[in-house]
Each structure stands twice: as C-alpha cells, then as structure tokens.
Assembly symmetry: C2
Homo-oligomer: 153 residues x 2
C-alpha cells in the first residue's frame, strides 16, 4: 500500500514523506493487515495530518484483487477514523482529472505531472506511491477550490 | 457483521454469545469499520477466544458488495491478529459441507442443523448470525478431527 503525506501550498505542494508499507514479512492476510495498520498508525502519529484521502474503487475486473485491496482499504479507513481524521474518497477518474485535466489519462501522464505539482527531492518510481501522491494532491486541489468558493460567497 | 463465540464439546457445542455488530449509527464507511473494530475488540477482550474463524469469499457476483464485505473482513482479521489469535478461514462450501454434509446446501438447510449441533437458548433468526455460528462450528469440527488424527498417529 502506497502512502504520501503532503502539505498543500498555493504554488507547489510540499511532499513530507511517501513510500510503500512493507508487508514482505507477512505470510498471511491477517499479518499483512496488521503490518499495514501498525505502519499507518505510526505515520499518522508522526505527521499528525487532519485529512485522509483514499482511493475509491468502483470496479475491478479481478474480483480476487478487488477483495484483497478492499481489505487493506478498510484498514486505512479504520486508522483514519481512529485518529479522528476527516476522510475523503476519490475515484481514479477524479484523480486523473484533477492532476492532468483528463479523466482518462494513463499512469505515465499522471506521473509526468507530479514534479510540476509537488516539490520532489527524488523522482517517484513506484506506481503505488505515485497514486498516493496524486490522491493527496487531488484532495489539496479540491480543498483549495472549496476554500476559494467559500471565501467568494 | 454477525459473530458467534462457541465452546466446542464432544456432543453439542455451547454457544456463549452471538449477534450482529450494530453499525446503524454509522453514516460513513470509516465509521462503520470503526464500530466493527471496537465491537470485535471488546468481544475478544471479554471472551478471550484462542481462534478466530472467518468466512473466505471466493467470489461475489456484485463487486460492490464483495468490496464492502472485504473491508469489514479485513477489520475482523486485523482484530484477530492484534489479539494474537489463531486465524482460520473457510469457504461457504466448506461450512455447508461441515454442517450439513452437503457443500451445496441452502441457508435453510444449514439453519435447520444448528440446533442439533449447538445448545441454543433461543432460535437464531438472522442469516448473518447463523452464518457465524456455522463457521465457528466448522472450525470446531475440523479441530476435533485434527486432534483425533494427531492422537491416533
């Protein structure tokens, strides 16, 4: 499971930390979910975010994959709820639209946009991590837009 | 989410407690998962089981349902792992086979068998609860069989 912690900014967002939860030591589904839970709790404790943005899955051709991803997604939602975070969910289409302006953009197009939108020390090479950064950015853009609308009305 | 706590016995198992986690006060997925997590943690703390048996889903025609159930299943696995419980998973077919002798039995056939296998004070009327009792019974039967094989060899 990829994760990213951002500070939104009017120009480019600042990336505090990103990565993938290491579950290689887990031999069972329960161990994997426990590893994810522990890692997210620790990351939330360290960064003290106020929002958790997660991907909303509408469909996955492979039901087995959809169910495995959903188990992990449930853990992320639980960790967010336990820490009393605001929780936002975005579909892959919403993320693509927000980051590239095209809801049907491919992964490469999303990844090409990231350095323009986030201050990165090193390029992001893992798809999971790029997805996490893009989801966080999507929320930051939506929140900024909502704030602007609120300020104007 | 239905749950059941059983004490296995050579004749009929003893049902300590069963029910459904009440998530009606939850308005979001994250709140629902937090309610499930809190309820299971409390039940595990109270009954101190040593095994958690959960249903393994292989397929669900409705992917949305499969994903929602998987989120909750992930929470159950996490609660079990956090409490260091042994975790066992059984498919619906395995449960039907164990309880009725027929892997294609319908829900009613499973529910008719339960009073013969478990000492019940009141009839079980909810499908989720009957499923939970049947899954727990399946594990008890498997464990008894495994013990018998171990004793004989």
């Amino acid at each position: 499971m990829g994760y990213a912690f951002l500070v939104a900014a009017p120009e480019r967002a600042l990336l505090l930390e990103c990565g993938v939860v290491d579950v290689r030591a887990s031999t069972t589904a329960a161990e994997r979910l426990l590893a994810i839970s522990k890692a997210l709790d620790e990351l939330i404790r360290r960064h003290r975010p106020f929002v958790l943005a997660v991907e909303r899955l509408y469909f996955n051709k492979n039901v087995q994959t959809a169910m495995r991803v959903s188990e992990a997604r449930g853990i992320a939602l639980l960790c967010g709820a336990r820490a009393a975070l605001e929780i936002a969910e975005y579909t892959p289409q919403e993320v693509k639209m927000s980051v590239t302006g095209n809801g049907r953009a491919d992964k490469k197009a999303v990844q090409r946009m990231l350095p323009l939108l986030v201050a990165l020390d090193v390029p992001i090479t893992q798809d999971n991590v790029a997805d996490a950064v893009a989801i966080a950015l999507t929320h930051a853009q939506r929140a900024r837009f909502a704030d602007a609308v609120a300020a104007a009305t």
